[in-house]
Subunit: 431 residues, 2 copies
């Protein structure tokens, strides 16, 4: 591969080349930086970048021992994660000049594994709906999704091969879908949350993006410390997975592109030997979207109390609206909502007795036109509430030429089995 | 009550007087500050204090409408919580000069309810075992317990009537017990964690201290937004509680003082009409202490990755030891430990079918002699792991004249019933 196209390399491939000393981190980082400088004036994926620091870090790594699984790999970090050597604005003018004193735990862990933080990627305001300037790399008039907009766009546009994101409603799966890449949301509680702006302790989860399942799994293995996540994608499954097709009570909201992708998936995966069955809708499942919304509004309004009380004038109308909504949910209802969530997290286990994974929509369709909205997280809310691991699988193109795909969901803690199945499915659907 | 003794007032009582405009917040704050200035050169409960700002805030509150449940009440804030207008050191020289940009969510919520932050109270280093300078107000050569050392000591010594704390192993219940006050640890996930140094997402919980159950409940109501917590202590129970006496598999470690308190509680509460039965030990319960230790070490070592990697020389030997231990727990074992914890959190519900609350030791005995250790959280670890709400009830005196008590534990989410029972029990045991 010519030096000028190094930015095309996937993370796992590049990591192998660097570990064998067949590729220098500095060359890879420089290639990615060139790609950024060529593309990002159009895409606006980065909020903060320090090219010189990244190159210096890469050189230092090239002259030292292999530190870990991410040795020498450029990493994009959503601007919701604290970084000690780069500004951190959480997508808000309230923190325009903020420089934290420490790296978020997940950022420090990636650096410990050898990652080179290339820059901070754009997030919507406090990871809610008010968008940043990022465009969809497939069509600049369309949203990249949110809130991890910059991370998804940068990976999709090959400015780098790995990036960190977070999900509170649909902020990993939705931008992955709109940008046509793999997004991985681990089981709740698996990744240390220290130093990431806390919005909703019940819902927040840290994950990441790659262009392939093994790449996303590599990042997942570092974030969780669980090497099974990576090993799961190193070879093919012994047996094809048992896949539960779950249209959800909101199937009426998906467009023809998703319906076509759904049918294609069913035919292709069945032919490849997977057991594809319809997963019955658990009684009451339709209530989960509203439950997630109430918990999200209550917890965001309270978690962001300092901003709500002291910086209201610098907060968007959308977020102030959420604050008003959240402050209307009284504490007793919230306590009951938390109890209901606990019960549902137990009850949903039943769904995975007959299925290894659930296949279900990620989005209503392609990325919508316009940059004033980041699209609807409707099909992500329930899984976020349930705390289950999810992977978005990109494999089709919609009527406007934008990416389309579906998500896989697994049982609580089954992250490694989810990624193994996701790799199997992704390979079959993109053959 | 003479102006000079205002610091003796309990929080709920003072709040009522202030709300009726029979007491000025400024007078109360000044009295507490005088008490601090008289006592804290000996006790060392405060890490940072801004008397002028507190008095100015109190005056502003006196001239405005009643903001909320804590209107005008002085509040101590453990120095693990971010504060925008006071330094925040997390008990470590690494953050000696740190001033966060925002208040922790819980601090902002208390201010929104009208609290006057008097100052930051001493925490052990990153809320682990390396102690701060705080002494036990009952005997200065004894530990006040940790990690919420300053909050417990300040409330016990009547420097103020309410203070915030956190518990990851036993950091609310143990200092409450050693200082002879009420400590309340809510159900996991009830209090927004934003802006509190994150040590272990699985275990960390925010709570508080008061000298009576209604005072602790008042603070709990503000932190959770759940007014049932406060209402629960406003009147006596209709029916005496069903109390499960649970000696735990570690009963052999308690001393004669705890045994005496235990027997006294059994006799007194039975006589008062409570149904007192022995709660059988759930099979395998003895494994929970070790499970909590492993999760704590893994998660603290990873949550504090930035400090572990960049500031090792400024970290105590005790905490570096924990880091080494935590880094030895591999990610696969940790994932399995999290799954086990989930199973136990389900399974323990069975314990509360026949009992409204469980009565169980808080500590091995009185506060140990010496300030180089904060004592053993042995009897708190399992309940922290299980995420259940706990209250320490102080009611006896040990052989050295130091306070002794027991803790009550309730089912997940039963915080209001726990506090109602705790109030009932506390009144009977201190009559």
């Amino acid at each position: 591969m010519s030096q000028s196209k190094l930015y095309e390399l996937g993370a796992a491939h590049a990591a192998t080349l660097i570990a064998c000393r067949e590729l220098k981190s500095e060359d890879l980082v420089r290639s990615c930086l060139e790609r950024v400088s060529e593309r990002d004036t159009d895409i606006h994926a980065f909020a903060h970048l320090d090219a010189l620091a990244a190159l210096a870090h890469a050189r230092a790594l090239d002259s030292g021992p292999i530190k870990g699984l991410l040795h020498g790999l450029p990493l994009g970090v959503k601007d919701l994660f604290d970084t000690a050597d780069l500004p951190t604005s959480y997508g808000s003018s309230v923190y325009a000049n903020h420089r934290p004193v420490a790296d978020a735990a997940s950022v420090a862990m990636c650096r410990e594994a050898g990652a080179v933080v290339l820059g901070k990627t754009v997030t919507s305001e406090f990871a809610f709906f008010h968008p940043g300037p990022t465009c969809n790399p497939h069509h600049r008039l369309h949203t990249p999704g949110g809130s991890s907009s910059g991370s998804a766009a940068a990976v999709a546009d090959r400015m780098l091969s790995l990036a960190l994101g977070t999900q509170t409603s649909g902020s990993i799966i939705r931008p992955a879908a709109f940008c046509g890449i793999v997004g991985f949301k681990p089981t709740n509680g698996r990744v240390m949350s220290a130093g990431v702006k806390s919005l909703s302790p019940t819902l927040d989860v840290i994950g990441g993006f790659g262009r392939s399942v093994p790449d996303a799994a590599l990042l997942g293995a570092v974030l969780t410390g669980d090497t099974r996540l990576m090993d799961a994608t190193a070879q093919d499954l012994d047996n094809p997975p048992r896949i539960g097709f779950f249209a959800t009570p909101n199937w009426g909201d998906v467009d023809a592109d998703i319906q076509t992708a759904w049918m294609y998936a069913e035919q292709t995966l069945s032919k490849a030997g997977a057991s594809c069955n319809i997963a019955p809708t658990p009684t009451g499942f339709e209530s989960l979207v509203q439950l997630q919304k109430e918990i999200c509004s209550y917890e965001m309004a309270h978690s962001l109390s300092h901003e709500r009380l002291r910086h209201r004038a610098q907060i968007s109308a959308a977020l102030n609206g959420l604050f008003d909504e959240g402050m209307k949910v009284d504490g007793i209802s919230h306590a009951q909502n938390l109890m209901l969530t606990q019960e549902w997290r137990q009850k949903i286990q039943q769904m995975f007795v007959d299925h290894d994974v659930i296949l279900t929509p990620s989005t209503l369709g392609e990325a919508p036109l316009g940059l004033d909205s980041t699209g609807d997280p409707l099909f992500c809310r329930s899984w976020t509430l349930l705390g289950l691991p999810c992977v978005h699988i990109p494999f089709a193109t919609g009527h406007r030429g934008l990416p389309v795909g579906l998500q896989l969901v697994a049982a609580h803690g089954d992250d490694h089995r989810l990624l193994a199945a996701a790799h199997w499915v992704h390979q079959r659907l993109t053959q």
